[in-house]
């Protein structure tokens, strides 16, 4: 054990307290949302729900279960996340692999071509006009036209660059060509980076809202984030039409959707989080 002098002891105790406080603050609203979704109407509206649920009942989830619009949007989001992430990863992994090779002609220029988009974008209006011109107003359009981020490509490129040269050379001597080199050696050896970037892409797809709301014209194609937002905008008036003696408060319905939209993130994220320090650490940005 390290021996600590007084200032170090004070600092250490302080650290435990402050980090703990921040961690709890970060988690609190999520726990609160769940508690509020399963608390009774009276308990919630009289402000008795602080952290733990009161008068627990799941009737709001029953209602949500019967809400067709919610399920359609939920399944749409699964679709966007699955195909979108696959598409983003396909382009990013192949591209980052090529960019990581010293022998690539105009390597610097190609790298700049990617990094430049981090500093300069066309802006909302030209992008919008471009999407409309090409016809990005349906499911596949959203999958294809979005979700490639320069930062993630740089991250992957740096990951690939970290693969030892000797391994690549040995494989090349054995006659292994680029495609197999990538799938058999580079991808398996870059698990941390790939897992991290996959999580980044998957969460940005899962959370996608703005462009989906603006571009999608068919309400059957909306993702759950848009569905949730429309509900937040309308829920007070929506509940005016409902019977007064409900078991849950109007807010509970919003909280219930919120909880459902967070669950997949909560399920996947802790498993991948352990790769972050390693995965993100490699992300020093260089042109």
């Amino acid at each position: 054990m390290d021996r600590l002098n007084r200032s170090e002891k004070i600092f250490r105790v302080l650290s435990y307290i402050l980090v703990g406080a921040f961690g709890i603050m970060a988690l609190y609203p999520v726990v609160y949302a769940f508690s509020a979704s399963i608390s009774g109407k009276m308990a919630y509206e009289s402000g008795q729900v602080r952290l733990f649920p009161k008068d627990i009942n799941f009737s709001v989830y029953q209602l949500l279960y019967e809400d067709k619009g919610f399920w359609i949007s939920y399944i749409n989001t699964l679709f966007y996340t699955f195909f979108g992430t696959a598409w983003s990863m396909f382009i990013s992994v192949t591209g980052a692999y090529a960019l990581s090779k010293k022998k690539l002609l105009f390597r610097r220029q190609f790298n700049f071509f990617v990094v430049f988009t981090m500093w300069f974008t066309a802006g909302m209006i030209p992008q919008y006009l471009n999407y409309v011109n090409i016809g990005v107003d349906n499911r596949w359009g959203i999958v294809v036209a979005f979700g490639i981020q320069a930062y993630n490509i740089i991250l992957l490129r740096n990951t690939f660059e970290a693969v030892p040269l000797e391994i690549e050379e040995a494989a090349t001597v054995d006659g292994v060509k680029e495609f197999q080199l990538l799938t058999k050696i580079f991808i398996p050896m870059s698990k941390a980076g790939i897992a991290t970037v996959t999580l980044f892409y998957a969460t940005s797809r899962w959370n996608g809202y703005f462009w989906a709301r603006i571009l999608l014209t068919d309400s059957k194609e909306l993702p759950v984030q848009v569905y949730m937002r429309i509900l937040v905008e309308n829920y007070q008036s929506m509940f005016d039409d409902m019977p007064v003696n409900l078991a849950y408060a109007a807010d509970s319905y919003v909280y219930a959707i919120l909880v459902c939209s967070i669950i997949p993130v909560l399920l996947i994220y802790p498993h991948i989080q352990k790769y972050f320090a390693k995965g993100v650490n490699l992300g020093g940005v260089k042109g």
Binding site: L104, I125, L129, F179
Partner: protein, 315 residues
């Protein structure tokens, strides 16, 4: 040497490694189509845009859109948005930038593996929640209505910070604190990762040496930890300054309303309202371009200054 290579030789290199270029192709096409092609659309800022004619065939009007923006009917809104962008961004830097650094500093003190793992997992989590979720939470937590009061609103009332009948979401003076605090809550934990990694990379022998000399904790931070994380810090500052004019529009659009425009409307939300909601695309695009050019200049400037004073730079 690349310079001495003739095109012929280059072509033979490409032929030899054609697989590499095939792998690069999807990425190049994607960026050309969805990032570079719209840049040409910025031409619209200099045109009297007519959707029927398209961008190229619309009349060229020079800087008249910019004039309208700066001196015409929209000038009040435009300059207010411009000012708000700076103010919100500056607040974001002043209050938001140091917190992840301190968090990383405290995090690195923790020797209890499970404790630090659990707290890290908790504190990164908000970063992965959607803006819709976050604003949905904020709106209900600070809601102050007849039937119910959000937990945070109630806390503030009990502390005497706001009066019983204030609705935070509808008051212009509360928008910025709300926005900045939400941002800190969402991103501080996650942003601390890179500083944490930098601190972990500092050689333990440096700490031991200082200890032998009888240094205390503050001296340790001052003379070892800070210099050790300086390169990371500088890179993060450059990145941050470069984005000073790009306040994320999504959360603002979700959080603001007509009552709070005066303090909340930034350039990107102005573009959204004028360009997309009201359909004045040329005017929106000129505000966008104005924004982009200043932002770009800021990155280059920040990078240049940093190279002069510290030899650390992005390129």
């Amino acid at each position: 040497m690349v310079k001495e290579q003739s095109w012929k030789r280059r072509w033979s290199l490409v032929k030899k490694d054609w697989r590499l270029y095939v792998l690069l192709l999807p990425l190049v096409i994607w960026f050309l189509m969805w990032a570079y092609k719209p840049m040409g659309g910025l031409l619209i800022a200099f045109k009297n845009y007519d959707a029927g004619l398209g961008i190229l065939n619309s009349d060229f009007v020079g800087f008249s859109n910019f004039k309208t923006l700066m001196f015409g009917t929209y000038s009040d809104q435009f300059w207010s948005a411009f000012r708000n962008t700076f103010v919100i961004s500056l607040y974001g830097i002043v209050f938001g930038f140091p917190i992840p650094i301190f968090l990383a500093l405290f995090m690195s003190e923790i020797r209890h593996k499970t404790y630090s793992n659990v707290m890290q997992t908790f504190s990164y989590l908000p970063h992965f929640l959607s803006e819709v979720t976050i604003t949905g939470l904020v709106i209900t937590l600070v809601y102050n209505g007849e039937v119910n009061t959000g937990v945070i609103a109630e806390l503030l009332i009990n502390l005497g910070l706001i009066s019983e009948n204030t609705n935070l979401i509808q008051e212009a003076s509360y928008f910025r604190p709300l926005y900045i605090l939400t941002g800190i809550w969402k991103e501080a934990g996650y942003s601390s990762i890179v500083y944490f990694a930098a601190i972990m990379g500092i050689s333990p022998t440096l700490y031991e040496a200082l200890k032998v000399d009888g240094g205390n904790k503050l001296q340790e931070i001052r003379y070892v930890t800070f210099p050790g994380m300086a390169p990371t810090l500088i890179i993060m500052i450059i990145l941050r300054i470069g984005t000073i004019l790009t306040v994320g529009y999504e959360r603002i659009i979700l959080l603001y309303n007509a009552n709070t425009y005066s303090t909340a409307d930034v350039l990107s939300t102005f573009v959204y309202r004028v360009g997309l909601e009201r359909g004045n695309q040329a005017l929106g695009a000129s505000a966008d371009l104005f924004n982009a050019i200043i932002a770009f200049a800021l990155v280059i400037g920040a990078n240049y200054i940093s190279r002069q004073v510290s030899e650390t730079s992005l390129w």
